[in-house]
Amino acid sequence: MEQFRNLFDYSLAYLTRQAGLRRKVIDDTIAAISTPIGEGGIGIVRLSGPEAFPIVGRLFTGKLVPRRLAYGHIVDPANGETVDEVLATWMPTPHTYTREDVVEINCHGGPLPLQRILELVLSEGARLAHPGEFTLRAFLHGRIDLAQAEAVLDMIRSKTDASRRLALNGLQGRLSGQVKGLRQSLLNCLAYLTARIDFPDDEVEEREILPSLEAAHEEVARLIDSARAGIIYRQGVRVALVGRPNVGKSNLLNALLKRERAIVSPLPGTTRDTLEEAIDLSGVPFVLIDTAGIGVTADPLQPVAAERSRQALEQADLVLMVIDLSQPLTPEDRDIWQMVRGKQCLIAANKCDLPARAELGATLSQRSEDSVSEGLSKDGAAWPKLTVSALTGQGLPELESAMVSHVLGGRVSASDELLVSNPRHQQALARARQCLGRALSGVKDGLPDDFITMDLTDALNALGEITGETASEDLLDTIFSQFCVGK
């Protein structure tokens, strides 16, 4: 499990030893979206740190005056394109929340402008804030008192847990797989150059590293493009649809997507793999994850599928537990309920177009505990139960608005982490591309080998932030395993 370090870790991991502590909690400038996701009128991107003012200055057309709202536009310096019409406030140190220079950009609240603006401030040199980092800084700079320290600790702890879950997603994602391959090839180049530097007497066979560097550079550029297009990483509130076989999870997914996506059949266990689809409900991005039914069927592939479902469940921010209203509740339903315990949950009682045989109608509407749904509650408070029909569409609007209010009502943590993976990865990839670009032109310009190793090390550090791997020991391992050096 060592590789599944939390997001905190691997956003920063490597530089701790090899390149210093660059990405740890220090006095650089941090930025994050500080409002929940959703089309809630306005959204705020907040920056804190010594560079907050100059960074925004490079993007903002208006004039920042201390503690006054300034009107203007955020413009992408790369192409001059206007991203959003915004109001920005500059609050100079020390009379701010963090006691550092703080700039807040109020923009339109949709996820897209928010994210674009965040990306821009990151590319101008800010670093994505860790969960709780604004508060942490406020404490460390003496802004909040001792009594609040406990709250800070709790926040770091709980947010770290949330981050760990997201990290898991990232690690299992295709991005990290591709980055790992890339890292290995760069590590080989670095090991080659370093072996020749640290062991100058040894006869290390000549290698041509330029083709590897060019390939890596292209690959990083490709990853950046695809990450931008959302192909690799889908973001949003992860909603897992779970339930025993044939309660109509795939039908419900399709109904929510309003198009045929999952293969639907009346046979139990048709969905063996998990399917993921992104939808946007009232401006809140969701990723719907259809899972194979969890339960006992004769299918030999079922255990594998069930394991995948469990994984999807594990990674979900919100669980949509689907039950079949037309059938009596079974022990399997209750087993599944046990599995989703501790998760944020909505219960969708499907097939309300058929005669209700689950004897749930009354109890559901009353939200009371009874003999049948006794397990379907947590800490005395029942999760919202909604009757729907995937077939007729009945109850779907209510389900959708329940999902949205669940998020915006704060029950699902819709804080910046939900958006971070992508910008964080993009930021790391962008830095890797920059370093590789330098390494490439260095090789072409005949710069001494050592400078190429510095650029490669920086590129590896950047990629290591995505995979959570550290390069210093990796480097020595690679050198000593690939080259017969030393005496």
Binding site: D9, I156, I197, G486
Partner: protein
């Protein structure tokens, strides 16, 4: 007898320790079990190389002795890695081992305030305020501070083939009582291994079948201070002198190669190799593999280079660099004789492996004082390192800090952005050792700032402030710094225009044509442009010394890279300076993961910066730590 500082062991660490301590005004006793083996080089006859050579220059700038001693006694010197970048260029010298040892002994003998005595230490112990040393003859000495620099002697065991015997080094006694004393004091000991190749007789080498590697044909020295007279000797007529280097007599090294036949002999005898048959338990350094290890790990490689290095001006003994082995004597001889130049070779000393106890440095703080016993310091191989230069660097720091403690002053701790010595000690006290630790340029993340050419600029002021470097030398270094800064400022101001004359000059020097106006500094940044060319073209002043020209060229040419590393240093400075109290209880930090808690409790890092480098500690852990430190600060 009562001293301020006692040093046990007069190897490369112990000599620096004793000299630094005495020079700082502490009454110092240096004990060695054999006065004829002071500053002995029991393994290779060379000093320097990438990162190691850097450390030697740092020792010099701080007022240590190794650089001056090797400068006086080398029989060859060269600059390695020229063309690979200024940060990784490094000096390496071949020493006359006997002269090196003698010259160091004489320096020790002439040092006021330092007593040099031969004695085997059997026991150490501590009472309330002092440390006691008892010798094998029952004599006791006591001191405020004690520095142990015993190298591989602690419970040493030499292994050759199926033979193993207790020894400190080949032919020397092991220190058995000391290991026990340390255990009694509560220290945990670990076990490491290293090895050395056979020495062969120059008369039995056919030098006509070798490749010659001569020394530098331009003057080079480790010490950046005033030059010293070399100690020279008549050379051995049996060892071919190689090409004449007029600035100073030198001896070359000669290269040969192993071949499939060599490898076959090793393979056939692997069952007799202690490294593979279980006789050796300790872990050896990967950077120093034995020949049998190389053959096994790189089975596909049909040839390995070996370097024949003279051990002195007059001796017949030749060191076979690259053939470090613990195979039985008959196998060692047989494998050497498969090499054409060595067909009739005779061995004078047999290669061997040695296992020894070390004190895992999680028990040591950055000042090299042990955490467990105040006043007790460790330096050199006892801390798990390998190499003379690593030992000397630690010895110097331990000597400085032991003397300063005895005199009631705070310790000197070098940062990772100040010196390779700082990188090394920081690595030692924050990381698990999995093999003997060797300095490598790749361990220094800020290596562009830690060049061998600027060791004097980096560290002479510190050496002077400590009291180890005289005023004259400091003034010379500060003058160099000032002239360099002036030179750089001038390059910023002077403009290079693509006028007729300049274009013609640029073409004459074979440099890329100039398209537009630029400053001389920008012009120097271009490929193939050197300071000397600028000076010759009349663009830059001609009057600077070669050292200043070098500084100006490097600082201007690689300004972008240097600025990036400086910025990286600045980014972490606050964390590096944030101290963690010695009595900080990590168990009180709620929410700290178990792994982090354990590691931090074990290493007890001195600063938040160090805590970050402890393996398995995550940024979340650091955040929690910061909050608790702040809370503690506020509540007092």
């Amino acid at each position: 007898m009562r001293y301020d500082v006692i040093v046990i062991g007069a190897g490369h660490a112990g000599c620096e320790t004793a000299l630094a301590s005495a020079r700082l005004g502490a009454r110092t006793l240096l004990l060695t079990m054999n006065l004829d083996n002071v500053a002995l080089m029991p393994c290779n006859p060379s000093i320097g190389g990438p990162a190691k050579g850097h450390a030697v220059r740092e020792i010099d700038a701080l007022g240590g002795e190794m650089a001056r001693n090797i400068d006086r006694t080398f029989i060859q010197i060269k600059m390695l890695n020229t063309g690979k970048g200024p940060a990784v260029q490094a000096l390496r010298a071949q020493a006359d081992k006997k002269l090196y040892s003698l010259a160091m002994k004489h320096t020790l003998e002439r040092q006021p305030g330092l007593d040099l005595k031969q004695a085997l230490v059997e026991e150490i112990r501590r009472d309330e305020s002092e440390l006691w040393v008892k010798t094998h003859l029952g004599q006791t000495y006591q001191a405020r501070c004690l520095v142990i620099t015993t190298g591989t002697s602690l419970n040493g065991r030499v292994i050759v083939g199926d033979r193993a015997y207790a020894a400190g080094r080949s032919g020397e006694l092991p220190a058995l009582g000391l290991s026990q004393s340390l255990k009694n004091m509560g220290f945990t000991l670990g076990r490491l291994k290293t090895g050395t190749p056979p020495r062969i007789d120059a008369r039995s080498i056919d030098f006509s079948k070798t490749i010659v590697h001569p020394g530098s044909d331009v003057p080079l020295y480790f010490s950046q201070g005033p030059s010293l007279l070399p100690v020279l000797h008549a050379s051995n007529p049996l060892y071919p002198p190689g090409p004449d280097t007029s600035w100073r007599p030198q001896l070359p090294c000669y290269q040969v190669h192993t071949n499939p036949q060599t490898h076959e002999i090793i393979r056939q005898n692997l069952d007799r190799a202690p490294l593979f048959n279980g006789l050796i338990q300790g872990i050896g350094p990967r950077s120093c593999p034995s020949i049998e290890d190389k053959i096994v790990k790189f089975a596909g490689k049909t040839s390995h280079p070996l370097f024949l290095e003279p051990e002195g001006w007059e001796t017949n003994e030749v060191y076979v660099q690259g053939a470090n082995t613990s195979l039985p004597e008959d196998v060692q001889l047989a494998l050497l004789r498969t090499i054409p130049a060595l067909e009739r070779v005779e061995m004078m000393r047999v290669g061997y492996a040695i296992e020894y106890d070390y004190v895992p440095p999680s028990q040591t703080s950055s000042s090299l004082e042990s955490k467990l016993v105040p006043g007790l310091f460790f330096a050199g191989q006892i801390n798990g390192t390998t190499g003379y230069e690593e030992a000397a660097g630690q010895g110097l720091i331990a000597g400085i800090n032991a003397a300063r403690k005895a005199l009631g002053k705070p310790p000197l701790i070098l940062r990772r952005d100040q010196a390779y010595i700082g990188v090394m000690i920081d690595d030692l006290v924050t990381r698990e050792l999995t093999e003997p630790y060797r300095l490598l340029t790749s361990r220094a993340e800020f290596r562009l700032l830690l060049r061998q050419d600027n060791a004097d600029l980096r560290l002479t002021p510190i050496g002077h402030e400590l009291g180890l470097v005289g005023k004259e030398r400091l003034e010379a270094v500060e003058a160099k710094r000032q002239v360099t800064l002036d030179g750089l400022a001038r390059l910023q101001k002077v403009c290079v225009n693509p006028d007729k004359d300049t274009v013609a000059l640029i073409a004459r020097y074979g440099m890329a044509p100039l398209e537009s106006n630029m400053t001389a500094a920008e012009f120097l940044r271009r490929q193939g442009v050197t300071y000397d060319a600028l000076a010759a073209m009349g663009i830059a002043p001609d009057g600077y010394s070669p050292e200043v020209r070098e500084q100006v060229e490097i600082e201007a040419k690689y300004a972008g890279y240097i600025a990036r590393q400086r910025a990286a240093v600045e980014r972490v400075r606050r964390l590096e300076e944030r101290r963690i109290p010695d009595d900080f209880d990590y168990d009180s930090v709620g929410g700290l993961r178990y792994e982090a808690q354990q590691k931090l409790n074990r290493f007890h890092p001195a600063t938040v910066g160090q805590a970050c480098r402890v393996e398995g500690v995550t940024p979340a852990d650091i955040s929690l730590l910061l909050v608790h430190l702040e809370r503690r600060r506020r509540t007092g």
